[in-house]
């Protein structure tokens, strides 16, 4: 079978459409790509007359999530430079309630699965006030790792989202697990009305 026979663009088109995906990128995530993609995301949202505050919240969750993939994806891009950016899929969509969601998918080491699960489950168990306290406590006591991770990413995404982080871990083989996460951003102002 040649490549054209295998390329099922109609399926891809349908998947993107039924899931309300506004845009998506799959590949090595470098800081340069993130800046460009982040900008076009903001331009796109601005053109839809969405309020500034919500645009920034979606942007902020998107950057945090994409930088997670960039730093922690098991799959690294083979580049000529010393920096091997993480590979994954990231994007933004709107669900059936017209809420924005940010998503990412990438491989992680299977042995890190339990730690990741524990971390997200803990964040999901906290109410907004506890989340705020936990964030502040980690912000003050934690240290940045060599890659510049503050360990605040999931906590920050959860509090900006106002919803639990939805995730799935699918073991692929002895070594790798596929990690998917969806962060839905509720427009709190609309809820209050």
């Amino acid at each position: 079978m040649n490549m054209f026979d295998q390329l099922q663009l109609q399926d891809l088109y349908r998947l993107v459409s039924v899931n309300g995906i506004t845009f998506s990128y799959k590949g090595p995530i470098t800081q340069d790509i993130l800046e460009v993609v982040g900008d076009s995301l903001r331009d796109k949202l601005s053109s839809q007359a969405i309020e500034n505050k919500l645009i920034r919240r979606v942007f902020s969750v998107f950057i945090e999530d994409a930088q997670n993939v960039l730093k922690h994806s098991y799959e690294r891009s083979e580049t000529l430079s010393e920096i091997k950016p993480g590979v994954g899929i990231v994007g933004v969509g709107r669900n059936e309630d017209n809420e924005f969601y940010v998503f990412s998918g990438n491989f992680i080491l299977r042995k890190n699965e339990a730690g990741l699960k524990k971390q997200i489950d803990y964040v999901n168990s906290l109410d907004p006030q506890q989340l705020q306290e936990y964030y502040n406590q980690r912000r003050k006591s934690g240290t940045l790792t060599e890659e510049g991770s503050a360990g605040l990413g999931f906590i920050d995404m959860a509090r900006k989202s106002g919803n639990p982080l939805q995730y799935r871990l699918t073991p692929c083989d002895d070594e790798k697990t596929f990690f998917e996460v969806v962060i839905t951003i509720s427009d709190r102002r609309q809820e209050e009305k």
Binding site: R56, L70, N136, R139, G142, S149, A150
Partner: protein, 129 residues
């Protein structure tokens, strides 16, 4: 003082740094979401450490960062710890935090970073465009 002013130009994901020794006016302006905030801010942190050790005048910080990622938030936690130390040793300092009027997140981000610190600070609203 044998310390030079520090100027770092604005880039897409890193703020402009404008530290003016003569007026003890230290400005940081622009979005901050580098992949590794310590790599970007290490010169700034080093500079501040030296400056605080030498400065005997009132220092004014003007910070206008509409968005920062968590990595940068950690660095600003450290910067304000240094400011608190300076103030604790009798140094005079004012931190002015600029927030966008129609974005409460940029206000609360400032409140969060500054709330438990004792040095004088001001929350200053502005309107974008």
């Amino acid at each position: 003082m044998n310390i030079q002013s520090l100027h770092v130009p604005l880039k897409k994901s890193t703020p402009a740094v404008d530290f003016d020794v003569d007026n003890a006016l230290l400005k940081i302006e622009g979005e901050s979401y580098p992949e590794n905030a310590y790599l970007f801010f290490q010169d700034v942190l080093k500079w501040l450490e030296e400056f605080f050790a030498q400065c005997d005048r009132k220092i004014t910080f003007e910070i206008k960062i509409p968005y920062m990622n968590t990595s940068s938030t950690k660095v600003f936690t450290d910067i304000f710890d240094m400011v608190e130390d300076f103030a604790g040793k009798g140094g005079e300092v004012l931190v002015r935090w600029f927030y966008e009027e129609d974005d409460e997140d940029s206000y609360y981000n400032g409140v969060e970073l500054l709330q438990e610190l004792e040095f004088p600070k001001e929350m200053v609203p502005y309107l974008d465009e």
